[in-house]
């Protein structure tokens, strides 16, 4: 985890993007450390828990962080902690990568795609959401690659279905060597299953409630197989939110499997 900072952050910009709002915050220390996949955590003054929010973009030279929040506009100053969690691994060598994003959680993918492209990589892009309004960053995806497929659950934009459904076909079509996916656990479980059959890497950014975001509360755990082959609970906010999808025991999320250490 990059060393996070806590900050009373002024909101310099707040623009509506579909169902979401993009907040621009001036946080130089956090902006220089944030990598795609890191998240930020916001708190109201009298709340008992915090709210995990995806970082859409970090601009070290401008000292700004851009966050994508799900509900209405926000004004500052905001109680912010960032960057938090473990980001997407970005290899130095060029890769053919399929990016898969669901709704708000697609926010970190454009910045990730830019980094992969800058290293000579090639991209395919799948974006999904329940409705057209809940899609995010379609234009940013199209600016990165021609291979963009949009899927909505109600058919209001693009293909009808879940974003995980065309994953295998899309990965084959671009001859992907790695999949980067971001979304809620059920969508990622299906994505991981589709990728598993292809025998390629899948990095999965798990979007769940993170009451503290800092690793203190241990409420956000999912069962994960360790490098030693032993399954343990891992905190999404700290060991994640990005996991090697083959390590996550998708079917056991929300349970305590009998072979988990300490079960």
């Amino acid at each position: 985890m990059a060393h996070p900072v806590r900050w009373r952050a002024e909101v310099f910009g707040c623009t509506a993007e579909g169902a979401y709002h993009r907040l621009v915050l001036q946080v130089p220390e956090a902006a220089s450390r944030a990598r795609p996949g890191h998240f930020a955590s916001l708190a109201g003054d009298h709340a008992v828990v915090r709210e995990a929010v995806p970082i859409a973009r970090a601009d070290a030279s401008a000292g700004t962080l851009e966050l994508l929040v799900a509900d209405g506009p926000r004004s500052g100053p905001l109680d912010l902690i960032a960057p938090l969690g473990t980001p997407f691994p970005v290899p130095d060598a060029p890769v053919r990568a399929l990016l898969v994003g669901h709704g708000q959680h697609a926010a970190p993918l454009p910045a990730l795609g830019e980094q992969l492209t800058a290293r000579g990589g090639q991209l395919g892009y799948l974006l999904g959401a329940p409705t057209a309004a809940a899609l995010h960053a379609v234009d940013e995806a199209r600016a990165l690659t021609q291979d963009v497929l949009v899927v909505t659950e109600d058919g209001s934009a693009g293909l009808t279905g879940l974003v995980s459904e065309p994953v295998a076909q899309a990965a084959r079509a671009i001859d992907a060597s790695v999949v980067y996916a971001a979304g809620p656990p059920d969508v990622l479980a299906l994505t991981a299953a589709a990728v598993a059959d292809l025998g390629i890497r899948c990095w999965a950014l798990l979007a769940t409630d993170l009451p503290c975001g800092t690793g203190f509360c241990a409420a956000c755990v999912v069962p994960v197989v360790g490098a030693d082959g032993v399954s343990r609970f891992a905190r999404v906010c700290t060991e994640g939110p990005v996991f090697d999808a083959t390590r996550v025991r998708w079917a056991d999320i929300g349970a305590v499997p009998a072979d988990l250490e300490g079960a």
Binding site: P4, A43, V48, G215, A219, R235, G254, E261, G262
Partner: protein, 317 residues
């Protein structure tokens, strides 16, 4: 008075801590992440999550539900077990100068005693906090802390197993017939101090599913909602000590402490130490901020030392 001139030194039974602030057990995870926000040696002490004899996965998720003024949690005491704690976590904390109070629990009295014997003399460990709020195997699953006789036997066994110079504190549950009776039993058995309070039992129902919000069903309530409950317990037991109904030992007060005024309120009720719990989840820098605010609160009242505030609510003048 200049807040910087306030003496925050906190005598706590056999210990003299640089200040009265600590973390409440289980509210700073494995504590490693807390060090990113707070220098561990800046706190009077650091209390770990509850360490048990073996690794424990804990309850399934959801494990936490936010309620209007508190947090309901049912984690199921997840932890690495004593071996991994001693090998991997404690040395890291000790290297950073943390004064570590290890929260321990077992299902049997002998397990508590074995943990105490194991932790005695290890670098960094300044005290043990007995989490007696869990179910007792011998008492058909009733919590240890609900029964004065069992609490007595437990504390006595730990006191005998631990080195004499290692303070042992008993953490009391609020939902008991008479917390003063439990406190008296623990102190007479040799407890060097009392931590009050553990979480308050509660239940939340999800309005959509009409099922309990937590996977475990009921949970423990913490946060500002429980502060009056905690203050009453601290006040009651401190009053009993003043009245000579049990020997005087220091009390570590906790329950919804979110700022310096809350910390001062616990001191006035009779607490010689203050633990910050669920406030950490909202503000990971809370202990340092609260320490600063406490300093200001004391100075603004002309109190030159933290110890001058302890028990003020009981004064008759």
């Amino acid at each position: 008075m200049d807040p910087q001139d306030v003496d925050l030194t906190a005598p706590f039974g056999p210990l003299t801590l640089p200040n009265p602030l600590t973390t409440a057990a289980g509210c700073a995870g494995p504590v490693r992440e807390l060090a990113k926000f707070v220098p561990l040696d800046a706190l009077g002490s650091v209390t770990t999550r509850t360490i048990m004899p073996r690794a424990r996965a804990g309850h399934p998720t959801p494990r936490a539900a936010a309620t209007p003024a508190g947090l309901l949690t049912a984690l199921g005491l997840p932890g690495p077990g004593i071996d991994a704690f001693v090998e991997r976590e404690l040395p890291w904390l000790a290297e950073r100068g943390a004064r570590v109070v290890v929260s321990i629990a077992g299902e049997r009295i002998e397990e508590f005693a074995a943990l105490a014997a194991r932790l005695g003399g290890l670098p960094g460990v300044v005290g043990l906090e007995l989490n007696i709020g869990g179910p007792s195997h011998a008492d058909l699953g009733l919590v240890f802390a609900a029964n004065p006789a069992i609490s007595y036997d437990l504390v006595r066994a730990v006191r005998r197993a631990a080195p004499a110079d290692l303070p042992v504190y008993a953490k009391l549950a609020p939902d008991v017939l008479s917390i003063t009776d439990i406190a008296a039993a623990c102190v007479r058995a040799g407890a060097d101090g009392l931590s009050m309070i553990n979480t308050v039992p509660g239940l939340d129902i999800d309005p959509d599913t009409l099922r309990p919000s937590l996977a475990a069903g009921p949970g423990g309530l913490s946060g500002p909602a429980v502060r009056p409950v905690a203050l009453r317990c601290v006040h009651l037991v401190h009053a009993a000590m003043l009245a000579g109904r049990l020997p005087t030992v220091p009390i570590l007060g906790m329950g919804g402490v979110t700022d310096g005024r809350d910390a001062l309120a616990f001191a006035a009720a009779g607490a010689s130490g203050i633990a910050v719990g669920s406030a950490l989840l909202h503000d990971p820098t809370a202990p340092l901020r609260i320490l600063d605010e406490l300093r200001t609160e004391l100075a603004s009242r002309g109190l030159a030392a933290f110890t001058d505030a302890v028990g003020l609510a009981h004064r008759r003048d």
